[in-house]
Symmetry: C2
Subunit: 416 residues, 2 copies
């Protein structure tokens, strides 16, 4: 544990947006504004890139009412980035720049709100500060709709996406079920390597208005079995609704979405850009069954649909931001806030701290025992785990029948 | 005007689903159940196909609480169809079958809930009954998210889709705006020949979180101009969000979505199947700008997202169903219920009746004066027209944090 520090703080956001990432930032900002140990509250403009470029947002100039709307506003209000810091042993120039910014603005607290890659960034900065004798408490605030962070029961952002996915699947089920002719619909859901999001479609099954089959990336995807399974459902019901994770891979570990697509772009982290899988699978099924088919990609909508966010999710996201600041002013550093939950005698959730080194770059997958034997659905355990997280409706204020999202001024501090 | 009749009624649904089509059916069912002139209340299983096959749903066996949930349940609860009746002068066999069903079950009231094609069906049946001396009052209940029916201020179903589209565009705007690098997003919105739905994205512009450019099918789409206009926005803002109607056509009247796609399937009405346009346009922009691009298709979600339905819309949809039954028992026939609205001194809406022959097969487009000179946006008139229609939030009951949609028993009457 670090000793108690007095100085400025920087709060940054990184990676893909979510419906509740700003609720975490709000929790951190408000707690920081009230903490006597924190002398100034800065936002990093576009995450670590803002720190590198010395672009700091003066959060104390924001209207408090607009700040409060962050609880309901999707996406990353401070701006995000996908910048990957180099290995400090190979090239430490960026770390030196970060340290320089920290020193210039007397930054003694750094809060970084993001997923796996962001926790890695957080961990590296924390270690670098320590090695260079610069006292700065670094705490990661978890965020990822993918729900794949280690050391926490679940990740803020996941539940709101899950609620959107389950609700949308129910609505798509009803839509595709009305005609007197057969049809098969494939819905592609985000999730590169973990099936938490595609698996969330199981909640739609509770009502009977859910997908017939669910395919996750945790188990190998065998195209022939898939076609047979879809055909079986179609023969019985005259329709079929299928949820697939974008990240399904075959026995050789090849992403099915890459079949026939050579030379696809990779992002800065080496991830392949996904998309088009639903249409591809739908066409394959069409050949086999002759049915009318449709591929639907939930795309960005599944990660930014704040209009149907889970109240439990944004309250917990806020709590995570709050806990990060409290931990840091108590002298904690190099940790991520995690959730410890109980589902016995009702659902409870409290925060805990997890060493960043344990979290960084680990991807938590759906447990094998939660996937059914046929590899085309999930078990009751998945439902029991997820259901408490999507409870409660959003209290997002409306203006003219449309969401009233926060509008920040984002005034940058003069460079020193 | 027909004389007052006593007998059974059939209520049917046809064409694509909407978020509020069942609210209209509920209005019709409840009014019919209470009308002393109506002796039995039947639903047509899959619209006119159910009448042809003598598949009638006994609506009096449904639980009243489940029926009441129809107000909030998307899609067509009685089942829909896309069956096109032949020209009776060429082949009247289907009309004779319909007449036979009507006679067998003493059907004196027929209510058909659908869009342009359904109003044509309605009109033909009405005329056929008249010509064959069979007294049956036939009233059309309007439904189409496309908002292209003649003789009404707007169509039930449109506003809920508009609310979904505007909200989603705001959320997509926020999502695509967070990164420190440029990106361009193209969102494809339904609407074969009328731009009402794509135009609805203008509501997102009110908040500043809307599309930069909007392209409607009412004006020719010139690919070169489109690319230039997107590039201009991108140069200024570093981002661009574009809403396009699936039905945009070039100067030769060719659908842009058909470029390079020979031999596409047509449905029973001769409509070409749409899709893939957003990705196509995004790729074209990528070549020109080098920007990161993404195509998003709102797909079925825009017509069935009852979780974000407009209260104004489902209340009016109910009113239309109610008005249809009231008109029929008052002796009206061969009419469609329409809306007469005023937007002066607040918004008011009342029902009226329009002759079906005037409505059938006419498509109402967005007025030319409501499209801007550059053909890439709409005017304030469009906003003033649409904004009152999306007011009010849904009161959809939830169970386990998910929608509690109606579950009808749909018990078929024994064939006579």
């Amino acid at each position: 544990m670090n000793k108690k520090l007095v100085g400025a703080c920087i709060i940054g956001q990184s990676g893909g947006p979510s419906s509740v990432i700003n609720s975490s930032v709000l929790g951190a900002i408000k707690t920081a504004l009230n903490a006597k140990e924190i002398t100034r509250v800065y936002g990093a403009n576009h995450g670590i890139v803002g720190v590198l470029n010395e672009e700091l947002i003066d959060l104390e100039l924001e209207d408090i009412n607009e700040l409060d709307l962050l609880r309901f506003t999707p996406s990353s209000a401070l701006g995000s980035c996908r910048h990957k810091l180099k290995d400090p042993n190979v090239d430490d120039s960026e770390y030196l720049k970060i340290l320089e910014t920290f020193k210039k603005y007397d930054v003694r607290y750094f809060f970084y709100n993001g997923g796996n890659d962001s926790m890695d960034t957080c961990n590296k900065i924390s270690k670098f500060c320590l090695e260079h004798g610069y006292e700065c408490n670094v705490i990661g605030i978890p965020k990822t709709i993918d729900n794949d962070l280690y050391g926490t029961d679940h990740c803020p952002g996941y539940a709101s996406s899950a609620k959107y996915i389950a609700t949308s699947l129910m609505e798509i089920y009803l839509d595709t079920n009305v005609y007197d002719y057969g049809n098969i619909t494939v819905v592609e859901i985000m999730g590169r390597n973990a099936g938490w999001l595609a698996g969330a479609s199981c909640l739609a099954q509770i009502s009977g208005f859910g997908p017939d089959l669910i395919y996750l990336p945790e188990v190998p995807f065998i195209l022939e079995d898939f076609v047979d399974q879809v055909y079986e459902v179609y023969k019985k019901r005259g329709k079929a609704l299928i949820a697939v994770s974008e990240g399904i891979k075959d026995l050789d570990g090849i992403y099915v979405s890459e079949y026939g697509q050579q030379g696809k772009e990779k992002d800065n982290f080496g991830h392949v850009q996904m998309g088009g899988l639903a249409t591809y699978l739908a066409q394959i099924i069409k050949v086999k069954t002759g049915a009318k088919v449709r591929g639907i990609e939930l795309s960005l909508l599944q990660r930014c649909s704040a209009h149907i966010a889970s109240k439990t999710d944004y309250d917990e996201a806020y709590m995570a931001g709050e806990a990060a600041v409290v931990a840091a002013i108590n002298g904690e550093t190099d940790k991520m806030v995690g959730f410890e939950c109980s589902r016995e005698n009702g659902y409870t959730c409290k925060t805990k701290l997890v060493p960043l080194s344990e979290v960084a770059n680990v991807e938590v997958k759906v447990p094998a025992a939660w996937i059914n034997e046929a590899h085309n659905g999930v078990t009751q355990d998945f439902i029991d785990y997820l259901l408490p997280l999507i409870q409660g409706e959003t209290e997002l204020p409306k203006e003219n029948g449309l969401p009233r999202f926060a509008k920040l001024k984002k005034i940058l501090v003069d460079k020193k």
